[in-house]
Symmetry: C2
Subunit: 241 residues, 2 copies
């Protein structure tokens, strides 16, 4: 995985079955090997992966907290299916988080942050030129993650990471519609320019535009596939507690 980064201990990490299972499930869901709404059998999974049910269950709970799975008592785990409204909500929250992040970032735009972001945009442009759609998405998300990181609020970053799992889900789910490499490049350079200008208003405008474009892309896509995921859950669960 590219550049400097902190060498993440490539040593033997044969442990952590839970995490391994979670990674496997995440990949499988994103790559549509499990369809939205599909039921996951614990025994089936444990057989396939050659582990017992305990780590599978714990991994499933982890994915549930990340919004990729939904558990129904006595029924098991189901792949999360986002409907149009939920999709809008995800992008609205993303807008909320990134607006705040870019506000903070503009106040503490260190040369290090500037350099890192610029480099990441270059990596992204390179990825956009290639054919690997998944990598393009990952580099794009990584750019935004860097923005959140340099905004200097760990908790804010965690909220973004939580959201990213769902974001990745619905983005990958749609990504037949390829954005042109130029569009991606200019769209991100606009953000850098806004940050360089130091004007909060300009930053706000840039991020609103940026996310608005992404939102349109995905929402348009989901209109085609159009899954609603509603079955019997007619009642509202809000307001409880």
């Amino acid at each position: 995985m590219a550049s400097s980064m902190v060498a993440p201990r490539a040593f033997i990490q044969q442990q952590n079955l839970v995490e391994q299972v979670a990674d496997y499930l995440t990949q499988a869901i994103i790559q549509q090997h499990f369809l939205p709404g599909e039921r996951l059998s614990e025994v089936q999974l444990s057989r396939d992966l050659g582990v017992s049910r305990a780590p599978v269950r714990e991994a499933a709970r982890l994915l549930e907290s990340r919004g990729l799975l939904i558990s129904k008592p006595r029924r098991g785990f189901f792949v999360r299916a986002l409907n149009a409204v939920e999709l809008e909500d995800v992008f609205d929250l993303r807008l909320c988080l990134e607006r705040h992040a870019i506000d903070r970032l503009a106040e503490r735009y260190t040369p290090e942050a500037q350099r890192a972001l610029k480099q990441q945009v270059e990596v992204l442009c390179e990825a956009a030129a290639g054919n690997d759609g998944t990598r393009r998405i990952e580099e794009d998300l990584q750019f935004h993650r860097l923005m959140l990181h340099y905004a200097g609020n760990e908790r804010l970053l965690r909220a973004f990471d939580d959201l990213t799992h769902e974001l990745r889900l619905c983005i990958t789910l749609i990504t037949k519609t390829h954005e042109a490499p130029d569009t991606i490049a200019t769209s991100h350079f606009m953000l850098l320019d806004a940050l360089n200008s130091g004007s909060p208003a300009e930053c706000r405008e840039a991020i609103d535009y940026h996310i608005g474009v992404a939102r349109k892309f995905v929402v348009k896509g989901v209109g085609e596939t159009g899954d609603s995921s509603d079955e019997d859950s007619a009642d509202e669960d809000v307001l409880s507690r």
Copy 2:
């Protein structure tokens, strides 16, 4: 609910052991029966609660995702201890979420929302007059949760709920400093007035002031207890992934 906490009680109802254990742990942590940084033994807990280790582990993972526990591989689960910086981050994220929420709420301020919020403020005022500090906090949080709810973004509400667990943790941890009932009342009526005015700027100002006050209260409190929770984790885990 009572103070007889040490006695673990065989409140073993039939189903949903995980949720019951999670609730028990949450209460125990908030009420400081487990101190920040303390290690939780799975076998001890399972013995005390009269259940096996599986539901305890799953509940612990749930609390970990809520930020109340931290798991160290091969070491077990530890009660989360927030240092001053993390506390600031929590309130900064809260500000981020509530700003966005009040913006949206101002755009769709239905009579129903208006009525519900007003009623909740009254409940809060009543609670503030009483002696039960925990209830006052809960009613306060419930008011803000209602704001988020009527903002009409389920995902935003979920992010707030996630944050609330940590918020509750550090608020309750500090709450020797009682806010005066009048202060609480006026502080919330200001929010209602701002919403009634329909002015986004006024709403923004009100929520900034409101959360700023709460933040000062809590941060001041943590300065006294002053736990840092840092031990050996000198390395940064950000930027990974």
